[in-house]
């Protein structure tokens, strides 16, 4: 049984975008804050911090989840993927990111990392998703800028790619 004292910081390690990372966390530390503040990976955004907006969405063990509803200590030993892992190491955007740019699927960009990770998850599971499947996934996010049309267009384009 793993027992962690609430007042102390504990060593937490997991795989982040393919490389081993570690840091220190109190049990109450959210995974979003661990990523951003302990690891300095600020690509993952934090909006509502109670599961509604989707800005914090990341993938854990190949499933899109809310980073703000996940404790850092729960991620110990897991495989975590964030928006930083999408582009090539040389910075070249991947197909989904290029489609977002092309279709103006972002304006302020606050919601974008979460949407990219949710859609990455969808395409990993369902390479040719239907309109309804895309809508279901995009429906788990709030975007206050775009009106969603560009986001849907970008997702549709990737879904139609050979």
């Amino acid at each position: 049984m793993r027992e962690l004292n609430g007042a102390a910081r504990h060593r937490i390690g997991f795989t982040l975008n393919g490389r081993a990372v570690s840091g220190w966390a109190e049990p109450r530390l959210l995974l979003t804050d661990f990523l951003r503040q302990e690891l300095g990976e600020t690509g993952t955004h934090v909006g509502c911090e109670h599961g509604i907006c989707g800005a914090c969405t990341i993938r854990i063990d190949g499933r899109a989840v809310r980073g703000c509803l996940y404790l850092a200590v729960q991620a110990d030993g897991r495989e975590v993927q964030t928006v930083e892992g999408l582009a090539d190491p040389d910075g070249a955007l991947n197909a989904l990111q290029r489609a977002f740019r092309k279709h103006h699927a972002l304006q302020c960009g606050y919601c974008t990392p979460g949407l990219l990770m949710s859609l990455t998850d969808l395409f990993a599971r369902t390479p040719r998703p239907s309109e309804a499947q895309i809508l279901d996934v995009v429906g788990g996010h709030l975007c206050r800028c775009t009106g969603y049309a560009g986001i849907m267009a970008a997702a549709r384009e990737v879904a139609a790619e050979p």
């Binding site: 793993r2 027992e3 109450r28 959210l30 599961g51 499933r63 703000c68 509803l69 404790l71």
Partner: protein, 274 residues
């Protein structure tokens, strides 16, 4: 906001989890998927002394058909269940209702039993369990007991679970031959909490209708098929549930959903029955 301070334990066995619950009682809080609890912690609506994480317990991660039920372990996520190819055959009502539970991103982490444990009056899974007359399996160092859905949920966000008990599984009855099922809900947006959710089961000349989102827990009523005054019956039910106005909808709107959507859900369940 951020959660208040708590100790964290991750037991390696169910027995260890039960021992912690026996020690700490209501100062302990079980977390599985945490899709309700984490939000409550972040909002500081919950402040346990110790958080007991059961999400990695292998023994609770299985779904199996036992006798006439699909027994769903406490660590099984809503997405795991929805991924089962035979779900629509085994428990059709779950296959119909699960896509309405939260969003894909929360179903990936949220568990079936966690949703039952939370006991939100508008949530889909307690409604399904009640409409199907399923059971919740509770275990403690004192032993194990099974409660019918109607005994388990006692009101708004409250259940009959004792402080030292762990929900180890939920038992959803398998589809009975010839039974028809239907599910519908009205929500502000897909994935939001239902304003009103309706589940119908038609079987053996009887129809059962469950209503969530009005009373403090799912309410179930049953009629014979041949009942002709169904509109009057639904109207009475709508008034019986004693709807209240809130931010999302007026009492009258809620009654209208029961009166307007109720006949459609019943008709759909009957059309799937044979």
């Amino acid at each position: 906001m951020k959660p208040p301070r708590f100790d964290y334990v991750r037991p390696d066995t169910v027995e260890e989890a039960l021992a912690v619950l026996a020690d700490f009682g209501d100062e302990a809080q079980v977390i599985a998927g945490g899709q309700s609890l984490m939000a409550m912690l972040n909002l500081r609506l919950a402040g346990p002394r110790v958080l007991v994480d059961i999400s990695r317990l292998e023994a609770l991660s299985t779904c199996q058909e036992t006798g006439d039920c699909l027994e769903i372990g406490a660590a099984v996520t809503q997405a795991d269940l929805l991924d089962r190819a035979d779900l629509a055959e085994a428990v059709p009502l779950l296959a119909l209702a699960l896509p309405h539970v939260g969003h894909a991103q929360t179903r990936n982490r949220g568990t079936v039993c966690g949703s039952l444990a939370h006991g939100d009056p508008s949530s889909e899974l307690p409604l399904c369990l009640a409409a199907l007359e399923g059971q919740v399996v509770l275990r403690s160092t004192r032993g194990e007991r099974r409660l019918d859905a109607a005994q388990f949920q006692t009101g708004l966000l409250s259940t009959a679970r004792e402080a030292d008990e762990l929900i180890v599984a939920a038992r959803f009855p398998l589809r009975r031959a010839g039974a028809g099922h239907a599910f519908a809900e009205v929500a502000r947006r897909h994935g939001d909490f239902a304003i009103v959710g309706l589940a119908a089961v038609a079987h053996d000349g009887q129809v059962r209708l469950g209503v969530a989102g009005i009373a403090d827990r799912p309410e179930i009523r049953e009629w014979p098929f041949e009942r002709e005054d169904i509109d009057a019956v639904l109207n009475r039910l709508a008034w019986d549930l004693d709807a209240a106005d809130d931010l999302h909808a007026s009492a009258r709107y809620r009654r209208d959903i029961v009166r307007g959507l109720g006949p459609k859900v019943i008709a759909e369940a009957r059309s799937c029955a044979n």
